[in-house]
């Protein structure tokens, strides 16, 4: 049995999610290879080689794989998949984009966003916005799986895997990259932050999200948002926490002016400690909050900021 992990990377850096996916691969067992595909990815491959448990880092460094478009990346994975019993990727927008394409090319099912490994063919995954947990068993010879990174502890960085180039004859005439607009932020990445403070519709406008910045700075927190806040144009959509946004599981999640719709809870209810600040004491967020404060956020947030 051997497992191929597709490395997640952005801006020349290996993403933290990869170390979590390698942990899921260790739970499955067998030899673990990591595939780093992209353009000028030497440093990323070096970083992947340091992850504990990785036997080999395979590197596909080519302009064809720049921006990790689904069509060439799925073809590359298909060309390598015969050597493996499992192919894993983070349940990120990249993993979600590419792995189902690989699965269909290989005529196998894909298992999305696993949160636990029961055995090499049996996995747990949330369904219905996290309101039920399904245990599923794959009968396919190749298991294609995306992994919810927050459900697995990252492996350490004491490894020294060999780095080997991949020769693959892959071209792409179907799609091309035009451009991207990335949100700039000095704060920790939302998915990996130890503390997350999120604002909802109750924030009133985008300007008021600045109220959260002081607390975020003091706690080293990432700032998130509910869908209502994103739809209202307060903040960009990559800040959205929920079923259709990011799934987070920090040690502390502070929900400010968020009612707690099930779609939002799906993205944060595995946080260790949840704090809710809301003026509506009937808000559903209080049913999952460890500590609830019924108060006007415009008074409570500055006060909290000053007392931290």
């Amino acid at each position: 049995m051997s497992v191929l992990v597709l490395a997640e990377h952005h801006d020349g850096l290996l993403a933290d999610a990869t170390a979590h996916v390698v942990a899921a691969a260790q739970a499955i067992g067998g030899d673990i290879d990591v595939l780093v595909a992209g353009q000028d990815v030497g440093a990323i491959a070096e970083a992947a080689a340091k992850l504990d448990g990785v036997g080999r880092v395979r590197v596909a460094d080519s302009a064809t794989f720049a921006h990790q478009l689904a069509e060439p990346l799925a073809d590359l994975l298909k060309a390598l998949a015969d050597d493996y019993s499992h192919v894993l990727a983070a349940a990120s927008t990249t993993g979600k984009n590419v792995l189902p394409r690989l699965a269909a090319l290989s005529d196998v099912a894909q298992i999305s966003e696993i949160i636990a490994v029961e055995s090499a063919d049996t996995f747990k995954r949330p369904i219905y916005a996290g309101n039920a947990i399904a245990t599923v068993q794959s009968e396919d010879s190749l298991k294609v799986i995306t992994v919810r990174a927050t459900a697995f502890d990252a492996v350490g960085q004491g490894g020294s895997a060999s780095v080997v180039p991949v020769e693959a004859d892959v071209s792409n005439t179907l799609s091309s990259f035009v451009g991207e607009e990335l949100a700039q932020s000095d704060r920790p990445e939302l998915g990996a932050a130890r503390v997350v403070i999120s604002g909802g519709r109750g924030m009133g406008n985008g300007e008021n999200f600045k109220l959260l910045e002081g607390i975020a700075d003091k706690l080293g927190a990432a700032i998130g948002a509910s869908r209502a806040a994103v739809d209202a144009g307060f903040v960009p959509n990559d800040m959205q926490v929920g079923q259709t946004g990011k799934i987070v599981a920090p040690e502390l999640y502070i929900a400010v002016g968020i009612s707690g719709a099930i779609q939002h809870l799906a993205g944060m209810k595995d946080s260790k400690v949840i704090v809710a600040i809301n003026k509506d004491e009937e808000a559903p967020i209080f049913q999952v909050a460890d500590y609830g404060l019924v108060a006007d956020l415009f008074e409570a947030v500055p006060e909290l900021d000053s007392k931290l």
Partner: protein, 254 residues
């Protein structure tokens, strides 16, 4: 150009689901069903392309039990021209659905296929990508903006802005192509009563997976469905001071 739009019948997104006592599945008896919210966005986008004169015909398709025809009628009321129902009572997962849709694509030859990015029941986020793979088409997942260059004829391109983890990415695809919708692509309209009445007269063809020459049964076994671990009931604090104290001394997270 012809646009094919796939829709799924799912439990209404506002319903609080219950797991069956024998843990075999989620209990769907007497539960309100509706069109998957992402599919509504897909239908809306197809209808808008028609209103702009880019699309000439919008065909709605679903794979599922007989009752799913209600959702096809909804798509027709929203502006689809005709509908195709691949009827099956099997538990269909993504690969089976994608195979059925690939056969429909082969017969209908649309220039553009629009699906939702995920269904809110299985939360898989797979069918669009799988359909693209099976038909050899390029894919644009999690679309928040779709621009067809020209009128969608051979050689025309599709420019799609996608919601990715760090922000937005724009890509260009050769048509025919598959697009899956994200939430911010558009705001779906409501069906008006006269349109609902008219939709009853629009054509709806029924085929079976056997007619299409495919198997849709899943190779993933559902062993068990359980409710998630309940969170311990929390406390309400009276003041910010008390909150800070609890976080420092009780929860020890700050």
């Amino acid at each position: 150009m012809k646009v094919l739009v796939a829709v799924k019948r799912v439990i209404d997104y506002n319903v609080k689901i219950r797991v069956k006592p024998d843990n075999s599945d989620v209990d769907l008896t007497n539960v309100k069903m509706a069109m998957n919210p992402f599919c509504e966005i897909a239908v809306e986008e197809a209808v808008r392309l028609k209103e702009k004169g880019v699309a000439t015909e919008v065909v709605a398709v679903t794979v599922g039990p007989k009752a799913a025809q209600e959702q096809l009628r909804t798509a027709l009321a929203l502006g689809a021209d005709r509908a195709i129902h691949v009827e099956t009572d099997e538990r269909v997962e993504s690969l089976g659905a994608a195979k059925a849709l690939a056969k429909v694509v082969e017969q209908e030859r649309p220039q553009l296929v629009i699906l939702g990015k995920q269904a809110i029941d299985s939360d898989n986020n797979q069918v669009g990508q799988m359909l693209a793979a099976l038909t050899g088409m390029p894919q644009a997942t999690f679309a928040s903006e779709v621009v067809v260059d020209g009128n969608g004829s051979e050689g025309d391109k599709l420019k799609v802005t996608r919601e990715i983890d760090g922000g937005l990415q724009t890509i260009e695809l050769a048509l025919p192509a598959v697009v899956t919708t994200d939430l911010r692509l558009n705001e779906p309209r409501y069906a008006k009563l006269p349109d609902i009445m008219k939709a009853k007269k629009k054509p709806l063809d029924v085929v079976t997976p056997a007619d299409l020459g495919i198997e849709v049964a899943s190779r993933v076994k559902l062993l068990k469905v359980e409710p998630p671990a309940e969170r311990q009931g929390g406390v309400k604090v009276g003041s910010v001071d008390e909150l800070v104290d609890k976080l420092k001394n009780e929860a020890k997270v700050i």
